[in-house]
Symmetry: C2
Subunit: 232 residues, 2 copies
DNA sequence: CGTAAGGTTGATAAGACTCAATCCTTGTGG
DNA sequence: CCACAAGGATTGAGTCTTATCAACCTTACG
């Protein structure tokens, strides 16, 4: 619940993260300094926005991790997406009256908040920025599609295995990889219970597929993990 | 597999469906007649595009239904979305090299195919059209989020109940509502098996919650169905 | 230290899948 | 117009997976 503001010409976050650096960046320098973008510092476990609240801004995650969560009327929570540094979230701000999910930081995080009103002040560059946001959105849709397949068509071990593979992707194969999520969060992400996740980890550690130390894991047998992710 | 082409200035599909009729429509009339948009007629169960094929077009469904399907390496299929008339699909065309899912018609359908190249010829109207596409995309993302909650956090009966509620929404409460999907398709949409779906239907028919005739259903007790969708 | 929160483990039960047999529907050809 | 074949749907029996409940362990931290 702790967020420190720092108003500034922080529109750079958006511009830079969207990869429109080149000429636009220069223009930005002059024209956009007065734009109402906030650079926010959140402490661990803070809420960025809540379901049902009026949606009037898009966000770029500068550092850390953010989880997007939807909750059933009965209180069951599902983690819709885990946002990583450099990614855009809160697309709802662009079309909806209210957010249809909640966003909370996992560990400390820096977030750049861009009011949608700011986008309209972009003038001739608005189209370019919006196009990039569209691209990001389409990619999120693709990822969501992939996750629908995971949740709809795979068993617990397959889900956990492909989650780990995805999480560790782009990391050196023989490194200790920080696992930011708690067992509960992994369970909520995969549509499972804490216990099943725990048991799977225990089993795989027993079989030497992976090791765990503190809040980090190390995959010892990538081959078997890949097999687990896709087959029986 | 049967599709009859009819090249024409069918760009109207996009323009109209995106709701940019007003002044833009007039301009369209003159400027866009030469745009390479195809109006396609598909017979039941035809493929619009397949996973892995080069993606170079966006589609608007003019009439009928289209299912978007992803498949596991083991052959398990998940329906990630059911496209209804007036909706846009194939967003992949705008960003990806290849489609990451397949699209097939359910029953006969009319589809308007807009090559992405065509969008670039839109000149000053391109921004407007792209903005509308972005809006559509964001809405799809929201729907996908909702479905992630369904698949991740709900039991079979809750999933089927909320699917039916969603399917029948906007329909007169006391009408026979055509159910376009087979049991298999419902199962693939909800991440269940044919048998469980069949059993749930049987049970609900027995309890007088709904009736079924031919390929249509009629909900007799909306209240109970709503309860089933959200609670135990 | 002592406490609280998170994690593990075991026993049990419920939910959903699998396999298999049977029952419609629907469409086709004689 | 009827008979029959084929695909879809239903139902039942048994099994596997995952959730639930409960106890216990571990770690971090005041």
């Amino acid at each position: 619940m702790n967020a420190q503001k720092s108003h500034m010409g922080e529109f750079h976050c958006l511009i830079r993260q969207l990869g429109i650096l080149t000429e636009l960046d220069a223009v930005t320098e002059e024209n956009l300094h007065n734009i109402e973008a906030e650079h926010l510092n959140f402490s661990a476990g803070s809420s960025v926005y809540e379901t049902g609240l009026p949606a009037a801004a898009v966000y770029v995650l500068v550092s850390g991790y953010v989880k997007l969560v939807k909750t059933t009327l009965l209180g069951k929570s599902q983690i819709i997406r885990i946002v990583k540094a450099g990614e855009v979230f809160g697309f709802d701000g662009l079309v909806a009256e209210h957010y249809n999910h909640s966003a909370a930081t996992m560990g400390d995080a820096q977030v750049c908040r861009i009011p949608v009103a700011a986008l309209e002040d972009l003038g001739e560059h608005r189209a370019e920025v919006e196009r990039q946001i569209m691209v990001r959105c389409i990619k999120e849709l693709q990822r969501a599609d992939g996750r629908l397949l995971e949740l709809g068509a795979k068993r617990s071990d397959e889900r956990l295995a492909s989650f780990l593979l995805d999480w560790c992707q782009l990391m050196p194969a023989d490194a200790w990889i920080p696992l930011v999520l708690s067992r509960l969060e992994i369970a909520q992400f995969l549509g499972l219970t804490i216990e099943t996740v725990s048991r799977l980890f225990a089993s795989w550690k027993r079989e030497g597929i992976l090791k765990e130390k503190k809040q980090a894991i190390r995959v010892m047998d990538w081959q078997r993990l890949k097999l687990l992710a896709e087959s029986h």
